[in-house]
Amino acid sequence: MSKLVIELIINGNKRKIETSPSTRLLDLLRDDLHLTGTKEGCGKGECGACTVIMNGELVASCLVLAPQAEGAVITTIEGIGSGDHLDPIQEAFIETGAVQCGFCTPGMILAAKKLLEENSHPNENDIKRGISGNLCRCTGYQKIFDAIKLAANRLEEEERGGDKKND
């Protein structure tokens, strides 16, 4: 087995890691970097539990080889919010009860983050399409839709508040 070293930026930190050509990005994150917030569900790109944001795009980390991520900028769930300050999306998920077993939650939150970055006022269809790559077997999705709508409103309020301060 040949070894290779890759460099990438994970949650704002530059990392240099030894890996192998057939290691998946998912395994690199979980096993080598101990970022276990990213989950493995199906391992075949269908469930979205392993979702991360790579170079600004939502990807299934189980379908990316580690060397394909050479030089990439990656955000995992550990990069959302900080230790004592939750992201408004995380807060909204808690408030609306959008978390049950929690296994899909990291992927859902990253999908929601990406959706709201691109579309600050998503309607129900936009939300459905935005999280169509993420399965949840507990909530029935309604509370997740509610959480994303709540987060969208909060973010808008925050922005308006920010504008006023700027005035």
Partner: protein
């Protein structure tokens, strides 16, 4: 430059097509070419470590471009489904392809999966393939022995089988653009909206003559109903030269049912697929019919305004 035999699990990521071709000429039989990996990593899910080596195309910039060259749309093999879905040029000139790309998998899959990967993987259910055939796409294959251009319809020879040789690389997809009025429709039937492998797909592209009444050319292509994506030539022959408003939609749709020989599988039975093929052909014709009438009415009102 490169050793004769492949070291265990070598990983190549070249910047130039030429270097990739050199690697393929040496190790084409052993190595896996990886684009987005959304099919390959599923296929090799539990045996990734058995792959002898990888040739990663991600650093070859020129394979990631969509451009218009005179009368052709040139799409690089590494263009992702998300790029196809969002490209204004594709939306404007090749809407059936844009819609097919938007129906693939999920955001996660569309962001990684590529048009070249979809083609070379050659699944009978490959979502882009009927649209590419319906638009008369051609594929450019390169090797150290030279360049070959093949029509989409001649590229696929069986489920997951193509004419691509181990030393060849698919680099470009070329689609002719014409100044005639083109109408099109795309329909995908699957078990659910996202992440569904298609049960039946249909791409219909109709080229009208200058008068916008006579059909110049029509291509009806279906996926998941045969070992490869197929064109039903009999429908095109029946439509060509006719006036649009003379078409018998039922008769044409019956051909879609009669001329396919699908199989039973987990996604649907043979009978179901034949029924669905007929139904979606009617839907596709009706969709084009309303677009054509709108277009025709506009032309008439423009003339009156003059």
């Amino acid at each position: 430059m490169y050793p004769r035999t492949l070291a265990s699990q070598e990983y190549f990521a070249t910047r130039e097509i030429k270097e990739a071709l050199d690697i393929l000429s040496l190790y084409g039989n052993e190595i896996k070419v990886i684009a987005g990996g959304t099919d390959l990593l599923v296929q090799y899910y539990d045996r990734l470590y058995d792959v002898s080596g990888w040739l990663d195309l991600r650093c070859i910039k020129e394979l990631k471009e969509i451009k218009i060259n005179e009368d052709k749309m040139i799409i690089g093999a590494m263009v992702t489904h998300a790029q196809l879905e969002k490209s204004e040029d594709i939306k404007k000139y090749l809407p059936v392809l844009s819609r097919a790309a938007a129906d693939i998998g999920s955001p996660q899959i569309r962001n990684r999966g590529t048009i070249g990967g979809n083609i070379v993987n050659a699944s009978p259910a490959g979502d882009l393939l009927p649209a590419l055939m319906a638009y008369g796409a051609q594929f450019k294959l390169l090797s150290n022995h030279g360049e070959i251009v093949v029509p989409a319809g001649e590229f696929f020879i069986g489920p997951k089988k193509t004419i691509l040789k181990p030393d060849q690389l698919l680099v470009q997809i070329m689609i002719p653009l014409s100044c005639e009025i083109i109408q099109g429709s795309w329909i995908k039937i699957g078990k659910r909206k996202a992440l569904a492998i298609a049960t039946v797909t249909l791409a219909l592209v109709v080229k009208m003559s200058e008068d916008n009444k006579t059909i110049k050319e029509a291509r009806t292509c279906l996926g998941s109903v045969a070992p490869t994506p197929i064109e039903i030539k009999e429908i095109g022959q029946m439509m060509a030269g006719k006036q649009w408003f003379q078409l018998d939609f039922n008769q044409l749709s019956q051909l879609a049912e009669d001329m396919i020989a699908p199989i039973d599988d987990i996604r649907g039975t043979k009978e179901y697929r034949k029924d669905v093929a007929k139904r979606i052909m009617i839907h596709a014709l009706k969709e084009i019919d309303s677009a054509w009438r709108r277009c025709f009415d506009e032309q008439i009102s423009n003339r009156i305004n003059y």
